[in-house]
């Protein structure tokens, strides 16, 4: 089997025996260096997917493979070294009393020697551009800065997958932008697969692939352009589409011809310029 990939094979999950299934027979593979966004409205099972990936939960049926090993109670500690996770609330995942202690927390758990830790702290703080804050206490940081520290803490363990479980949901637009910038920089610098679970449509357009969840099943899968071009399907399950995408729709109705589904303002503008010059 291919190393460095996450694979879900016929995974079904429910929290308790008499409860409804949260995930129903889910199959997908996330390969190396991919950026996958998982979207879906509340209760669609997207956060459960994240927790299954690093062994916070185990499926009742089917198997989850990370880097070729099946996730179970024996392998879970190795799996957690490979799969880093950043959660929603910036405060409730900050364990250390200072930035430096928090970045070290994961490494301490994995029993890394101290010299290596000191090195890695520097590197990972640099990667998230927070090297000046090494001695700061958490209450002196903004939400976005705390999330960047959380990312640094995950990077320090050098995982192969990073899951952002609605990591930007509690941030202001500035913090959100910072995080997405950091994440995309980091992904380009290191060989990493990114999995973002999100409501934010801007985040979705940055991904290379989108998985749309609905009622515990995969509803749709494809590139952001493909997914957003099927707006009717998305609105059917109560999901919103980006403003640019809606705008393009209205333009099409007015008779403007566009060559492709635009993902951002820039693309729409370029398209409009081309169609105008050919008119």
């Amino acid at each position: 089997m291919e190393e460095r990939q996450v694979e879900f094979r016929n995974v079904s999950f429910r929290y308790q025996e008499d409860m409804p299934w949260v995930l129903k027979n889910v199959n997908f593979t996330i390969g190396p260096d991919e950026w996958v966004a998982i979207i879906g409205h509340n209760g669609s099972g997207k956060s459960t997917i994240a927790k299954l990936m690093n062994g916070l939960l185990f499926p009742q049926e089917g198997e989850v493979y990370v880097g070729g090993t099946k996730v179970n109670a024996d392998t879970v500690w190795d799996v957690r070294k490979q799969v880093g996770m950043v959660f929603q609330n910036p405060d409730n995942q900050f364990v250390g009393t200072t930035v430096r202690d928090d970045v070290a927390f994961g490494m301490e758990n994995h029993g890394m020697p101290r010299d290596l830790m000191v090195n890695r702290i520097q590197q990972s703080l640099k990667a998230v551009r927070m090297e000046k804050f090494e001695r700061h206490e958490p209450h002196r940081l903004s939400g976005g800065q705390k999330q960047r520290i959380a990312i640094a803490g995950v990077l320090a363990v050098s995982p192969e997958f990073i899951i952002l479980d609605e990591a930007t949901a509690m941030l202001d637009p500035k913090g959100r932008k910072e995080i997405m910038q950091t994440v995309s920089d980091v992904q380009q610098e290191r060989d990493l697969s990114l999995i973002t679970i999100t409501h934010d449509l801007q985040e979705v357009t940055m991904a290379s692939r989108v998985i749309v969840m609905n009622g515990g099943e995969i509803w749709m899968e494809g590139s952001p352009r493909d997914v957003f071009s099927k707006k009717d399907h998305l609105t059917e399950i109560g999901l919103d589409t980006p403003f640019v995408s809606k705008m393009a729709d209205h333009l099409k109705k007015e008779g403007v011809r566009l060559s492709r589904e635009p993902l951002n303002h820039q693309e729409l503008l370029e398209d409009l310029c081309i169609s105008r010059s050919t008119m």
Binding site: F87, D91, N92, R100, F105, M107, R114, I121, G153, V157
Partner: protein, 265 residues
């Protein structure tokens, strides 16, 4: 508000006392507390006081902060002094007030006990003034280390302490937020009878507790996701190190003990 918040009484400085290993500080203070009770002559008290005042001087902590630490116990010191003064009925009568004889022995004993109190509080507050709470936590973890053999959860205790320290400012900010939110809904925290004010705390505490439990749950999940599996096989970033200064401290302390026993009656 948040940038000026300092937990505990720690006064940052780069003095010899600050640089001591917290384990040494705690151990020496423990033994100091023991030997204070061996002093029984003016000279022996003098030797002990010299050590305490000398350390305070070396710590570079402004005098007013040390006084602040003594504030809550002034009354106790005064009370024990007066108690000894009036209750002791030995030796010669020194003088009498309102027909009550005060004996010389009472004066001496009262003075000695008060001085003992003063010295104890001085050295212990020096510890909290020159050591960060997290250093104290680390030192306690190390010093209690041997108890692991009898299954005492030393690591867990230290982790609990450090997480509490970490969340004090967070919960304080939250308390402020909740109290503002409740005040805007008409809860009055400041005026009214004592009973009413106590009652007004309930709508503050309930949401605070609910959110603290939610935080705890999420934190536990985040810790687990980052590979936390107890103290077993864990390495530590923060390391305590015995340096030359610590060795000097031990030498000075041994000399102190010797001087104390030479000056005793």
């Amino acid at each position: 508000m948040s940038s000026s918040m300092i937990i505990g009484q720690y006064i940052p400085a780069d003095s010899v006392i600050h640089r001591l290993d917290p384990r040494s500080k705690i151990a020496i203070i423990f033994f100091y507390v023991v030997i204070v009770f061996f002093a029984n002559s003016a000279m022996s008290y003098g030797v002990l006081a010299l050590f305490a005042v000398g350390s305070a001087f070396l710590s570079q902590v402004p005098f007013r902060y040390i006084l602040k630490g003594l504030k809550p116990v002034w009354f106790l010191i005064l009370f024990t002094f007066l108690l000894h003064l009036f209750v002791t009925r030995e030796g010669d009568v020194a003088f009498s007030i309102f027909g009550w004889d005060v004996y010389k022995e009472g004066l001496v004993q009262g003075g000695a006990i008060s001085l003992r109190f003063f010295l104890l509080i001085l050295v212990t507050s020096l510890l909290t003034l020159t050591t960060t709470p997290i250093e104290i936590t680390d030192a306690i973890e190390e010093l209690l280390g041997p108890l692991k053999k009898v299954k005492f959860p030393v690591h867990e205790l230290a982790l609990m302490m450090s997480i509490s320290l970490r969340f004090i400012p967070t919960l304080m900010q939250e308390t402020e937020k909740i109290s503002k939110a409740q005040a805007s809904r008409g809860v009055d925290f400041r005026t009214g009878a004592f009973k009413d004010r106590v009652k007004a705390v309930v709508p503050l505490l309930v949401p605070l507790f609910v959110s603290a439990f939610k935080r705890a749950e999420e934190l536990a999940m985040a810790m687990e996701a980052r590979g936390y599996q107890g103290g077993e096989g864990r390495t530590k970033l923060r390391e305590l190190q015995i340096t030359k200064i610590d060795v000097y401290l031990y030498i000075v302390f041994v000399l102190l003990v010797m001087a104390l026993f030479m000056t005793r009656n």
